[in-house]
Subunit: 286 residues, 2 copies
């Protein structure tokens, strides 16, 4: 990109888009623009000096953007890209932030212009609060950011990696879409389902609250779920998620049967194995 600065348009200035905008705008390399259906958000971000435009001229912004980062819900992201296919700058990169990759990549594959590169993205960060007002530059610190190539996009991945590296202290992971969707069924979708299942009980809420420690609070945290977004994610990743749920059910049945049998040594071995697994996942020494 032979310009003094890189023009980036962020589409959808919510929690993720807002946080990307806030982090990248601190870097003089970038000129950040944004597209959002909410005019107030655009005006606010402009006043915050997070973006350079205070009105949305969609075609104009896309035509000059070296990179377009789509931070919309999956179906809206696909719609946006389809609708604007003729508007993207030649030789530019488009990326997204959707939590599943197979669907969006297969949708884009058939419609993408040959002079444009699409690389899938999934920043694995979030919080229970949504919207631009809850976004912040450090949202991504310490988190994983997955990039998924499409056919022929490999050669330009390094350019996107350089930009994405500037959103914070993150771990960038390159993955195939099928592997990504299978892994997040286990590492993200399953914990959300477990939190939902745990939040349901015959006890009243005050009693639960009175007897809760950190373990319960952490375990239900993501049960405070964005139902609109997650209904799509869950149904679009149904087969992988069912597999993960059934793997979990089997593990839980196994531990339950050990508890029922009451064999102290067997239970202690099981707990020691968990301790080892958790430490390995956390990358800690034993």
């Amino acid at each position: 990109m032979e310009v003094d600065f890189i023009n980036i348009t962020i589409v959808g200035l919510g929690l993720i888009g807002g946080s990307i905008a806030k982090s990248l705008s601190k870097n003089k390399k970038y000129k950040i623009y944004a597209i959002d259906t909410n005019k107030n958000t655009i005006e606010k971000a402009y006043k915050d000096m997070v973006i350079h435009n205070n009105v949305v001229e969609e075609t104009n912004l896309l035509e000059k953007s070296d990179v377009t980062i789509i931070c919309l819900y999956p179906n809206d992201a696909i719609e946006f890209i389809k609708k604007n296919m003729k508007n993207f700058k030649s030789n530019s990169i488009i990326t997204d932030t959707c939590g599943l990759k197979t669907k969006i990549l297969s949708s884009i594959k058939n419609i993408i212009r040959r002079d444009i590169t699409f690389i899938g993205g999934h920043p694995m960060a979030g919080r229970e609060l949504n919207g631009y007002d809850n976004s912040y530059a450090k949202l991504f610190d310490g988190s994983n950011y997955i990039l998924v190539n499409t056919e022929g996009s490999e050669s330009r991945t390094h350019e996107l990696i350089e930009i994405i590296s500037d959103i914070g202290n993150i771990n960038i992971v390159i993955s195939k879409s099928s592997n990504h969707d299978n892994m997040v069924a286990y590492t993200s979708h399953l914990p959300h389902i477990l939190a939902c299942a745990l939040s349901k009980s015959p006890y009243n809420y005050k009693a639960i609250s009175n007897f809760s420690g950190g373990s319960f609070k952490d375990s239900i945290r993501v049960g405070d779920i964005n139902s609109m977004l997650w209904t799509d994610l869950i149904l679009d990743n149904k087969e992988n998620l069912i597999d993960s749920i059934e793997m979990f059910e089997e593990n839980l049945r196994g531990i339950k049967s050990i508890i029922k049998n009451g064999n102290r040594n067997e239970l202690m071995d099981t707990l020691n194995e968990s301790k080892k697994n958790v430490k390995l996942i956390k990358g800690e020494r034993m």
Copy 2:
């Protein structure tokens, strides 16, 4: 207690005992002493000005203590109280910090001297690190502290409440032992079992780590478990815990079947119900 200060002996200067000692010792009302099998810990706490004794003279300390707080593993706590029954100061209060209350209360009931009051205690705070070195005064801030009366102890509970209130910004809850053990099966033992079940998978640890966001990290956190302590807790609360696991299994089966059916509205209703439950438990407005 008609003295200028209240003598308190803490038995077991680990994470919980150490944190209680560190918080109460900041208050001039109390003179804090400690008993621990590890001489180095006693010397360290003395040098830290957390306790007033630098050697352990068990009988002497218990004879002058208005309150004795036993912060040992359940069986050790019962053994300690039995062994020292003749040594406790007349009219003093004994309390413990064990995670289950029925067993210790029924064990104590038959051996307690009539001039001593036993009140069960359960501070619902902790972390994955153990020992005095990891203890800190603010461990209990924001947490629940359950107190369980024995027959006849009710009249002196207010005295213990006044002292316990000084360990931090805590929510003191008075409960019956059977209710306590049933509730913690759900709010504490179950989340630990779920974390253990979740930490087991066919994926390698680096891959899991690369695809983990906050939801997974929070959900496995307590799987890094103290197997010695938890083997006892789990087996001693076996019936309640099995009930809680089976309630959870039923909830999970229910959500799985909704996902399998793929009915969007039904799934969204389920997620919305979870969102509502979690907000109610957290005491948030909808």
